[in-house]
Assembly symmetry: C2
Homo-oligomer: 306 residues x 2
Amino acid sequence: MSIVVVGSVAFDSIETPKGKRDMALGGSANFFSVAASHLSKVQLVAVVGDDFPQNHVDWLQERGIGTEGLTRAEGKTFHWKGLYGDDLNEAQTLATDLNVFADFEPVLPGSYKEASTVFLANIDPDLQRNVLEQVDNPNLVALDTMNFWIEGKLDALKKTLAGVDLLFVNDTEAKMLGAADNVVTAAHNIQEMGPKIVVIKRGEYGAMLFHQNDIAFCPAYPLDEVFDPTGAGDTFAGGFLGWLDKVGDINSQTLREALAVGTVMASFVCEDFSFDKTKQIGLTDLHERVRALQKITAIPENINIL
Amino acid sequence: MSIVVVGSVAFDSIETPKGKRDMALGGSANFFSVAASHLSKVQLVAVVGDDFPQNHVDWLQERGIGTEGLTRAEGKTFHWKGLYGDDLNEAQTLATDLNVFADFEPVLPGSYKEASTVFLANIDPDLQRNVLEQVDNPNLVALDTMNFWIEGKLDALKKTLAGVDLLFVNDTEAKMLGAADNVVTAAHNIQEMGPKIVVIKRGEYGAMLFHQNDIAFCPAYPLDEVFDPTGAGDTFAGGFLGWLDKVGDINSQTLREALAVGTVMASFVCEDFSFDKTKQIGLTDLHERVRALQKITAIPENINIL
């Protein structure tokens, strides 16, 4: 079993109420890969510039992440600059320098084509669809997107969604894409577009999962200090899909497990800048937080109102 | 076992994206009582004007709600007028006519003084403290408050909180009162002020419970149509405290049960205006939604990440 992820590898310059960091390693494919690599084999497809440090590539390889699909182009690596206020649920983008990412055309190495899971991080839906044409017969295709594409390339996005099994999307974007003010209705409307599984990310309020007629919910792991939420969504997706790829079966039970694993994975990335925290954790840390979440969310089985 | 609730009985004129209703029955004590009366004996303390319909008082009595403490004063009943936009989490207040509620001075009938549970709905914290001086020795004193008192009468509120076991408060108010941007830190700061139990209401995102060092979380019951959320907070409190008063014991397990019962009780009130839905439901309806919530929130017990 293995996962192919297509997305960005970037430098992030971030300011939050807790601190400031220039040119930290980030990017959707990077956050996803590091998270998923705790659980399964990951193969990365992204582009970086000639300024990108080789030691980070080495580090990805040491984590078992395949970097054959990480190409170097002439120019600078994608750079994002953002500011978080006291409401850490939303960042204010100060600068988006696409640089070499502007001409990104994902090409999958031959060894990637038999991946069991594909994660299409937030890029142009036409490029996402192009990737799908390059893979053989994955068990699960998951996609992330954002308001930029929902507003600007809705037809292309819908065309891509028709070939996708699972969509990760945030609350506002779900309502926009599903054309409904109610999140349940929005999710059901999105399911009609293709993805039979819709996972709605709600930041500090947790995540909801819709799978056919089944609904599941997991709150965010409660942290008394959120340092920097950058990458939380892709880290969540990495934990979620890493778990599904590891267990190799997709059903009501494994999806609920994936929701919990994604949630706790995301909690770690919020505790420091970049990969400073997630690179330190192991399976025991994930396990402990999942056990804690079970305790937090459990409604006693023997409650009897009648 | 019995519950005393002190708060408002009102007329609400409401517009939501789903419809409009003039002079519907509402008010914190009213919503609380109707909810709690499904589970325990409730005794109401409130004031209405001479315009208040006797048939509603009769109806409360038919539900087993004690109305000896419901006084009639010369003048009009409290009237609130509000508008909800597409974001049903927050109402825009168009008018607040306090009328007879402006001079409300709660006096507990002798038969109320031995109540096992006291709920002080959102009124002036000095009045709330005055009520506490009139009860003998309740098992549990719970209080609701709002930004108006946190901003305007913080010292009085803190004095009252020192004698309270449980605080219901919404997300924004918790952060304001607990002087922290992080909800976990805010809750812990509030626990230092007196209430060993803090319940944070987050509207469509559910509710969090902090009890000593224990944390519990319950999502809102997923509705595909929210008609009118007016009274959801007090209905939640009614289900929560009704359950605790019924089971007569306060511990980690019963508090989790109360969180679920309050959550499903609140889901029903949102499905129609005023009491149009909650007056129709029975224990079977509550039971079924609690069972559904158990399924929605359960993280499989046998998950093993190691």
